[in-house]
Amino acid sequence: MTEPILAAVDAGYAYRGGAAALSGVSLAVSPGRNVALVGESGAGKTTLLRLFLGLARPTSGAIHFDGAPLHRQRMRQYRRAVQAVFQDPYSSLDPRHRIGRIVAEPLRGLGLGADPARVTAALDAVGLPADTAGRYPHEFSGGQRQRIAIARAVVGNPRLLLADEPVSALDLTTRVRIVDLLASLCAERDLTILLVSHDLGVVAELCAETAVLERGRLVEQGPTSEVLGAPSHPYTRRLLASVPRLPA
C-alpha cells in the first residue's frame, strides 16, 4: 500500500483547561483515496482539521505528513503538498484584492513566483475565464467564489486538498457543479481530498473512504460503501436515517 500523505496517529487534543475535544483518533489519507470525515457540530471535525492543517498541535499522539511527524521545519514542504478550502466563500476571499492576486497567494507564499500563466491555468481548471483575474470577489456569486477558492487551493499543484464543508453554503444545483469540479480535479491532477461534510449524499458521491466522528472519537471508518451501506455503529445509522430523501 502507498504511504499516506497525511495521518493522525492516536491523536488527542484538549483545549486549555477543557475536556478532550479529540481522543485516540487514527485516520490516514492515502493518495487517490478521498476520505470523508463525517460528524455533527461539536463532534471534533474542526479540531481534527486544525491539527491536520498544523494550526494546532495534538496534546497526545501525532500528525504524520509523508510518513514522519509534522514539524515546523517541514511546514514549507507541507504547504506545497496540502491546501485547504473552507465552507464560506464569502469570508474566505479578501474583498480588497483582485482575484488574480488572491489566487496567486499560495505561489508567493511558497516562493514559486506569482506567474500569471499559472493563475490563468488554475482559473481555467475551475471553469472560470482568464479575465476573472482582474475582478473583485463581490462581483461573483457564491458558487463562483467557491470556484475561486478552489483555484487558489490548486494553483500550486498540491497533492492533498483539505475541504471543510466546501458545498454546504451553496444551492443544490451549484453543489452538484462544485462536486463535479472536485471529482474532475482529482482525476486530472492526482489530487486527493479529505472532505469534512455532514452531507452524506456528497460524501457518497465523492469519497471512497468514510470516517465517522462522534464526541471526539472515531466510531466507525472504512470504505464508504460499507460505512454508509451497512453501518455498524448506532450513531452512523442515526445519521443515515436523518437524511431527507426524495419520494420514490
Binding site: 455533527e40 457540530s41 452538484v176 457518497a204 458521491e205 436523518s242 431527507p244
Partner: protein, 261 residues
C-alpha cells in the same frame, strides 16, 4: 376564502427593478404550501411581503390578503394571523434577553397573560417544542443554547399564540442533519395538532417533500411551476424544476448506490 391569498405580487427596489414579479398563490386554512427556489429567487422577499415586513427601500404592489387583512396597503401588525421562523435562530432571537422572556413577549401582548398564568404558558410553549428542563431553558440566553435548542425556542415563540399561518423560512438549513430531522418532525406535529397552515420556504427539495403538499417553484422572482410536490418531483414540467429535481437525485442516487453495494 383562503387564509392567505397572494395575487400579482411584485416587489421592487428603489431603482424600480422587479425582484419579485407577478407571484400568485393561495394557502388555505390548515394547508401546507411550499415556496421552493435558490438564492435570489425571491422566496424570502415574498415571505416578508406577506408579513408586511419588507425592508426599507423595497415596495410591494399587487395584492396580499392575510386572514382578511390587506398586507400591502395596511400592513399593520400581523398579530396572531401569521408568525415566522427564520433560518438562523441566533440572529432571530434577542441576544440580551432570556429565552423565557422572549417567548413571554407575544403571550403578554396578544393574549394578555400576566404572572403565574404567563409563566405557565411559557413552560407549556417550551414543552410543546419538546424542550425538557424547561425552567433552565427559560432562564438561558440564546448563546447558552445549542443551534437546535435555539430553533426550538424560536418555534415556541412563533406558535405560542396559535397563529393561523406559520411561515418557516429555511428553518433547518443551519442545523445538523439529525437535528434537522427532529425539527421537521416537530413542525409536522405542531401544524397537525393545531390545524395551523404552513408556508415552508426552502431550496432543498428533499426537505420540502418531507413536510409540504402543494408547492410553487420560484426562479428570478417568478413562479415557474406549481403543483403537488410529489407530481412535481415525479414529472417536472419546467426545465428549471427538472434541474432542481436532477440535482437532488444525484446525491440521492449516490447514497442509494452505497446502500446496494
Amino acid at each position: 376564502m383562503s387564509l392567505l391569498s397572494v395575487d400579482g405580487l411584485a416587489v421592487r427596489d428603489r431603482a424600480g427593478t422587479a425582484l419579485v414579479e407577478n407571484v400568485s398563490f393561495e394557502v388555505a386554512a390548515g394547508d401546507r404550501a411550499g415556496l421552493i427556489g435558490e438564492s435570489g429567487s425571491g422566496k424570502s422577499l415574498t415571505a416578508l411581503a406577506v408579513l408586511g415586513l419588507l425592508p426599507p427601500g423595497l415596495t410591494a404592489t399587487g395584492s396580499v390578503r392575510l386572514d382578511g387583512a390587506d398586507m400591502i396597503r395596511a400592513p399593520r401588525g400581523h398579530g396572531t394571523a401569521a408568525t415566522v421562523v427564520f433560518q438562523e435562530p441566533l440572529t432571530a432571537l434577542d441576544p440580551l434577553m432570556t429565552a423565557g422572556r422572549q417567548i413571554a413577549g407575544p403571550l403578554r401582548r396578544l393574549r394578555g397573560l400576566r404572572g403565574a398564568a404567563l409563566r405557565e404558558a411559557v413552560r407549556s410553549a417550551l414543552g410543546e417544542v419538546r424542550l425538557t428542563d424547561t425552567d433552565r431553558i427559560a432562564r438561558s440566553y440564546p448563546h447558552q443554547l445549542s443551534g437546535g435548542q435555539r430553533q426550538r425556542v424560536a418555534i415556541a415563540m412563533a406558535v405560542a399564540c396559535r397563529p393561523r399561518l406559520l411561515i418557516a423560512d429555511e428553518p433547518t438549513t443551519a442545523l445538523d442533519v439529525t437535528v434537522q430531522a427532529e425539527i421537521l418532525d416537530l413542525l409536522d406535529r405542531i401544524v397537525t395538532t393545531h390545524g395551523t397552515a404552513l408556508l415552508f420556504i426552502t431550496h432543498d427539495l428533499p426537505v420540502a417533500a418531507r413536510v409540504i403538499r402543494h408547492t410553487h417553484v420560484l426562479r428570478h422572482g417568478r413562479v415557474v411551476e406549481s403543483g403537488p410536490i410529489t407530481s412535481l418531483i415525479a414529472a417536472p414540467e419546467h426545465p428549471y424544476t427538472r434541474t432542481l429535481v436532477d440535482s437532488a437525485r444525484r446525491f440521492d442516487a449516490a447514497l442509494e448506490r452505497t446502500g446496494r453495494a
